[in-house]
Subunit: 338 residues, 2 copies
């Protein structure tokens, strides 16, 4: 038996309070992680409020964990006690599904998510299947790395999946927790990067993250100039935009890709995307192998989330800050259990 | 000067009547084709009725031509007088566009279509830029080959563009002029092929074209079983279906691809396609190189459209037959100018 100290909410949007729970013996393919830092993600907010009807209370969120391996199960190879690892949205996959056997663990049916039907990383210890504990390169900043394991891989993965090319002209829609990482990745990927934004005050910062150009979405002339321009558009927002106007900015063979869970259906006018052989797609996080590729890419190119740090005991202030849309750009909690 | 004898409509849905027009001297990169056969396509109907607001009258339709090279311009290489060729939807491309230089002539901006702003193949002679006159292999049935140059390449092209694999489970939606060719191509491509149809009377025929399975779209149990099943769905219809239900039948990484110009917007629920990393796409005809690949594939695998033959002088009866939805499955006109 292992006793876990955590922060839990008793009901939807109830404050997080200290909470303890017990875990049974470590399974042969499981590991326990001593949590050092845990990022906050919008899906923590959604789960906290039970927006998706999938939350069990007491609710312990947190799925952007970095920490050190505390204990390894009998069948675990390749991880050693004390090693730095990260854990993201997924905590367990059926390893003999066709998807996992193909390297697409993240697309495997029946995946277990770190904060659904179990407790997450707002805690001193978190458990997972070994495959989802991804080793952290030494030169990736430990304090800031948490958000890479959900937000980071969510925007990195489509570059791999859809073979975005360094010669592509790309656009990032929405410069926030996901978008500010998208700009960094795509700049180092070799692309010509345009940041779409409706806030002129974000333009300077977008350029610092890696945008070569900005498109002010309130300027009709800018849309006219952008017609047929982009090979790849990364939509990181969750709100409804004028998708038809955005699709008109796609070049022949261009793709509009979604990593934000846009609520309202996106209307696709088939004749309008047919002439240019355009594509619309969406994707969730990434596989263990792609997550490791991302970490290596971050290490080689000095890419990191811009974070605000809170003590884990200040979790309620941190969640409020995120909920108010004030995070610039990701929040990380530091474990301060004594 | 060359005098062309043709069949033209004086206005929307007016009957086709004999019509003559003159063409100037052959340009250096042009060829004239003696028309032997010309297929009828739904877009001939749309253009005849001026549904797209792009028709000039007198209107000479016809963009599924097969014939023999009559004359070649000074700069034309690789085509000789008397050689069998086909001409489809496109008749001229800007050869120094980025798309043409990349082999994507069909996606090049400013392409000229065979029946827009010029006269098509309901005639004894038709002219085009050399690149769009594709040589016909000797063992492809000359009488039936016309529909391959528009309908055929429209369904073949996405198999190439999106790397459909012989191990894929695929579905064809709509068993008509396009779908009956899709079934043949996908069967010989090595895939497991399912025909989606609401007409049980088409099931037997779908199997003869190459379907291994059929899915009766009026059977709720069939939809339940099909959930998460398909790697590639080819939508050949132009009407509105329950697209959300169709997207639920996509496997992880699965694609719903449109080759029919569906009029109403297709609503895409992003969270529903995100978990499986699904894709929605559309494409128009194919490039000269892909058209040549298709002809070689037809030759090697004995693939041909199922056609009904009319004399070109019976064009009005043929158009009426097509308009009534009675074509099984493509109509070909035989040039009977004396």
């Amino acid at each position: 038996m292992t006793t876990i100290r955590a922060w839990a909410a008793a009901g939807p949007k109830e404050p997080f309070k200290p909470f303890e729970y017990e875990l049974g013996a470590l399974g042969p393919d499981e590991i326990d992680i001593d949590v050092d830092y845990c990022g906050l993600c919008h899906s923590d907010l959604s789960m906290w409020a039970n927006e998706w009807g999938r939350t069990a209370y007491p609710f312990v969120g947190g799925h952007e964990v970095v920490g050190r391996v505390r204990e390894v199960g009998a069948n675990v190879a390749g991880l050693t006690v004390g090693q730095k690892v990260g854990l993201g949205w997924l905590s367990k996959s059926n390893l003999n599904s066709q998807q996992s056997l193909s390297g697409d663990h993240n697309l495997s049916p029946g995946n277990e998510a770190t904060i659904i039907g179990r407790h997450g990383g707002f805690a001193d210890i978190v458990r997972c299947q070994w495959v989802w504990a991804i080793p952290l390169p030494e030169d990736v900043d430990f304090k800031k790395a948490g958000p890479l394991f959900c937000g980071g891989v969510t925007v990195f993965n489509p570059l791999v999946q859809f073979s975005v090319k360094p010669t592509d002209k790309v656009g990032v829609i929405g410069i926030g927790g996901l978008g500010h990482l998208g700009l960094q990745f795509l700049n180092k990927w070799g692309c010509e990067v345009t940041a779409f934004t409706s806030s002129p005050d974000k333009e300077k910062e977008a350029r610092e993250f890696g945008a070569h150009k900005t498109l002010n979405s309130r300027d009709p002339g800018a849309w006219k100039q952008a017609k047929g321009r982009f090979d790849f558009l990364l939509a990181t927002v969750a709100v409804t935009l004028d998708w038809t106007r955005l699709m008109r900015t796609l070049a022949p063979r261009g793709r509009l890709h979604f990593v934000g869970a846009v609520g309202e259906p996106v209307p696709v006018h088939i004749p309008a995307i047919m002439g240019g052989q355009n594509q619309i797609s969406a994707s969730p996080v990434g596989s263990p192998a792609v997550t490791a590729q991302m970490l290596d890419f971050c290490s080689r190119h000095d890419i990191a989330p811009m974070t605000e740090q809170f003590k884990m005991s200040d979790i309620n202030a941190a969640m409020e800050h995120l909920d108010a849309g004030k995070a610039r750009y990701r929040i990380v909690l530091e474990n301060d259990f004594d």
